[in-house]
Symmetry: C2
Subunit: 231 residues, 2 copies
Amino acid sequence: MRKAVVLLSGGLDSTTCLAMARAQLFEPVCLCVSYGQRHQAEVESARRVAQAMGVADFRLVAVDLRAVGGSALTGDIPVPKGRSEAELGAGVPETYVPARNTLLLALALGLSEVVGARDIFIGVNAVDYSGYPDCRPEFIRAFEALSKLATKSGAEGEGFRIHAPLSGMSKAEILREGVRLGVDYGLTHSCYDPSAQGLACGSCDSCQLRRRGFEQAGVKDPTRYSSEPRS
Amino acid sequence: MRKAVVLLSGGLDSTTCLAMARAQLFEPVCLCVSYGQRHQAEVESARRVAQAMGVADFRLVAVDLRAVGGSALTGDIPVPKGRSEAELGAGVPETYVPARNTLLLALALGLSEVVGARDIFIGVNAVDYSGYPDCRPEFIRAFEALSKLATKSGAEGEGFRIHAPLSGMSKAEILREGVRLGVDYGLTHSCYDPSAQGLACGSCDSCQLRRRGFEQAGVKDPTRYSSEPRS
């Protein structure tokens, strides 16, 4: 089996992405990045998911992005709540973390070289993409081109492939594919602003996209929300 | 004055790069990345350099690359010592940190967006480049192209410029330029494997390149070495 580095946040998308990498017969090396996000519950979810899916190599890298700031996920800006569907689709939200996916892919690239992987999986999603620029297919292609120039392996002739299998899928399609592959979504975490007990708020953009995805997929949502939806 | 993010390690190259950014009338925001390197003395040098050069905004971001490993600078591989000039020029050395400059530039890119800078300075050097693939001009150009796709500012039309002013300079040329700009090289640190007292070993690749640079530039080397050169 060929190794692949899979970026795993513990959310719905990256967990489905991990299941898809395994279905393609890759041996996953999971990379979870703790970047000072409010929703540290993600990291615990990532561990649980990796364990449940029998991942033998799980790496946690801590990067403290609070020194950089500029995002509702790492700084003092409040997480937006109860935004309408039109608001969800308009522009780049406050939860954008500047250059986050470039950073995640840089770490995945370094780890790939170290473990001898030539494939990297990232669960970005261009349909329900929340307006993040670094979820677009053209960004992924540019990073793939960069990876060849950035590394020893690349300079020696062997490039890297960046897989973004969720890129063209809706949240409902992602969920249906995950269910088909046996993913237990009860282990995953999506909320940007969970309660101290780890309950999902139900009204941040991420909760709203998740909840709607389950509805549209006709799949029972196992998430424990702290409140009823506001929208 | 326009702001520029300057990657500052506290070494000879990045310190000269900072002096050159200031000479171009940029207001520097210095970004120092502590990545679990053996030579933590670098970080203290970076602070001293920034203070001596009157930098008002100095950010330290910690990323623990020891979970990734694969380098003499972060892992258990010994730092090569006393290599000959031919060995220094051949291939990628063990001190290569996989995808390090991609990671540094990703962090600089995020910070640039947050502080409103459109210019990033990195002190990579393609002549005395120690064989690192991510010091080559083609890598820098590819990252510049990526930066436009990776960010909110880029997606909104404003790209970033990655400046690598040392790219075509020899170590001696860098030193002469720094001296001309008033750099105090006594504050800088280059050694990959300093003693507990912070003295430079004198024989790792970085010490050798530094020492030879001072000789060739005809500039007095203020470095305190723990031993005489072995080469």
